[in-house]
């Protein structure tokens, strides 16, 4: 069995070099598309002050204007530049999305490795995770934010907590599979201590699954942030975010449709980019999954 399954292997991560990038990109169009879109969005968001106007400046005389050379997407009900707000909103969405994904995957990785490796912790930790999984994201966020007041930090924590158990489960299952591998036993025979076994022989195997899961978490975090902001419990209203924009402009949809569609389409495109990247990464790391479809 092992002889048969051995030749089907994923791309060896250690051997990928910068010069391979065009080849990998061509062979995995999803990764290049998703990654490219996401990279473009990040660059646009980071350099926003260079080309976009002031996103918070109000002008009551220019309320609900149609698109013009001055304000490309027109203005909203308070006379603010919709284009600038959309671009600056990308900063919030990407920041919250990436940071919540990072928080959820890192804590999930840590807890998952401990649970997967230690039989005694496993039961306790996984029951706690089951409990966390049953908490609805939106309710937890509302509860936390009503305790501390709105802020981006608490929002990230509130989104990361319910996402973390899924990562923990995934990491745990990978660790459970890898810890029985003969090469882990061989490392133990060679006198390797627990830190070395975990760091060198077990952690690297979790990275592919972790990256795929990280992308999924990131996409859902962006959506959750928008949802919470729309409900008014997310990002404070003075900070432009896509959820805030849709929420405050939804009454003017028929007069100035771009005030809702600009952030809405951006939101959809961002989530699509992250999901494409995640799907592509899964194919990249597991060639068998691709062939089956």
């Amino acid at each position: 069995m092992t002889l048969l399954s051995a030749p089907i292997k994923a791309v060896p991560l250690g051997r990928l070099q910068l010069t391979d990038l065009p080849r990998v990109a061509r062979r995995h169009p999803l990764v290049s598309m998703g990654g490219g879109m996401l990279a473009l969005l990040i660059i646009l968001a980071v350099v926003a002050p260079l080309y976009a106007g002031d996103p918070v400046n109000m002008d009551p005389f220019k309320r609900l204007q149609p698109p013009s050379a001055e304000m490309w997407f027109g203005s909203d009900n308070l006379g603010r530049d919709v284009f600038a707000r959309t671009i600056f909103g990308a900063r919030i969405s990407l920041l919250v999305g990436l940071l919540s994904a990072a928080c959820a995957t890192l804590t999930g990785l840590l807890i998952g490795v401990i649970a997967g490796y230690s039989r005694s912790f496993d039961n306790v930790v996984m029951r706690i995770m089951d409990g966390l999984m049953s908490i609805p994201t939106i309710l937890l966020a509302i509860a936390l934010i009503s305790l501390t007041g709105p802020g981006i930090g608490i929002l990230i924590v509130a989104i990361a907590i319910p996402e973390m158990p899924a990562v923990t489960r995934l990491v745990r299952s990978v660790v459970l599979g890898v810890r029985e591998r003969p090469y882990v036993e061989a490392a133990l025979c060679g006198g390797a201590g627990l830190p070395r076994v975990l760091w060198r022989h077990i952690l690297p195997s979790t990275i592919p699954a972790l990256m795929v899961q990280g992308a999924t978490v990131c996409a859902s975090a962006i959506l959750t942030e928008a949802g919470l902001s729309f409900l008014g419990v997310g990002v404070p209203p003075e900070i432009p975010s896509w959820g805030n924009m849709i929420s405050s402009s939804r009454l003017y949809l028929s007069i100035a449709p771009l005030t809702v569609f600009a952030p809405g389409i951006c939101l959809a495109v961002t989530v699509l980019a992250v999901n494409l990247l995640g799907d592509g990464l899964r194919d990249l790391f597991d060639p068998r999954a691709k062939r089956r479809r």
């Binding site: 092992t2 002889l3 051995a6 292997k9 060896p12 991560l13 250690g14 051997r15 591998r181 003969p182 090469y183 036993e185 061989a186 490392a187 133990l188 025979c189 060679g190 006198g191 390797a192 201590g193 070395r196 060198r200 022989h201 690297p204 195997s205």
Partner: protein
Amino acid sequence: MSGPLLKVENLTKHYPLGRGLLKKTIPVIRAVEDVSFSVEAGETLCIVGESGCGKSTVARLLMRLVEPTGGRVLIDGTDIAGLKKNALHAWRRRMQMVFQDPYSSLNPRLTAGQIITEPVENFERLSRKQRNALAADLLRKVGMSPEMLHRLPSELSGGQRQRLGIARALSLNPSLIIADEAVSALDVSVQAQILNLLLDLQQQMGIAFVFISHDLGVVEHIAHRVAVMYLGRIVELAPCEALFAKPVHPYSAALIAAAPVPDPTWARLEVPVEGEVPSPINPPRGCAFHPRCPLAVDRCRTELPPLVPMADGRLVACHVRAPATEILAEPSTAANASFTAA
């Protein structure tokens, strides 16, 4: 340093089935029962037996990859079965293991050099230069080119991978190497190369081997002494030539008769052994082999035969072929004996 390098006394491993929270008695798999043997420096002891007889568990017990249920493993007189993790660390240098599967026993993400120097790095810090020199030296010892240093296991053949496994075991200069089916996964021609490599290393460095195999052709080629296991127990422990020339225990005889001989004119000796291996969860009373043994008498069904020494120095556990005399038999088994059969 007198006495044997490795001495195993009454080694036992039971695997409980399930977690018996409510049930009082949990069924156990008796993987290894009361196994004792010793290995001298520079000697090769082979452990043979069919699948599931506990030979791999013995290897894992020797390496402390699993904790023994009972018994002692003495290296130079020190019991390592009872050592704590920290004290055990130092003893790892004395014995190393070569694994069966050259594919899964090498971390696919590490290079050949990283794999074979890792054991040394667990004990001392190496500079990059020292590490490369050590890796090149080890590769040369196992007949590989030092240029393979930066290869990944996936870029090597099965034989080369197994050479890496041996190089990894050699890196700590052990006095004992435990090889668990070390050549079973390889082609016959590659098997021969690896076996000759092991024999060369033994001659050059005086390494003792505990070689676990189900391939009697391999065993005959390399063993000094052979232990035959059946259902977790050693049934015969004999010098290699003596065992292959004249197996005493009926199971050894059947095992040797069943091994294929590459000679079409060779008439196979028919030793009738029927039925399946009994379950180690519920082993037969008395001699574990009696349900399949052509020689079984009533005594075999009730009383466990002890391993008794025979005139030529071998140990055999069989009531018929090697009846225990009063002096040699253990007092407990002698007391329980029922001699109704005649």
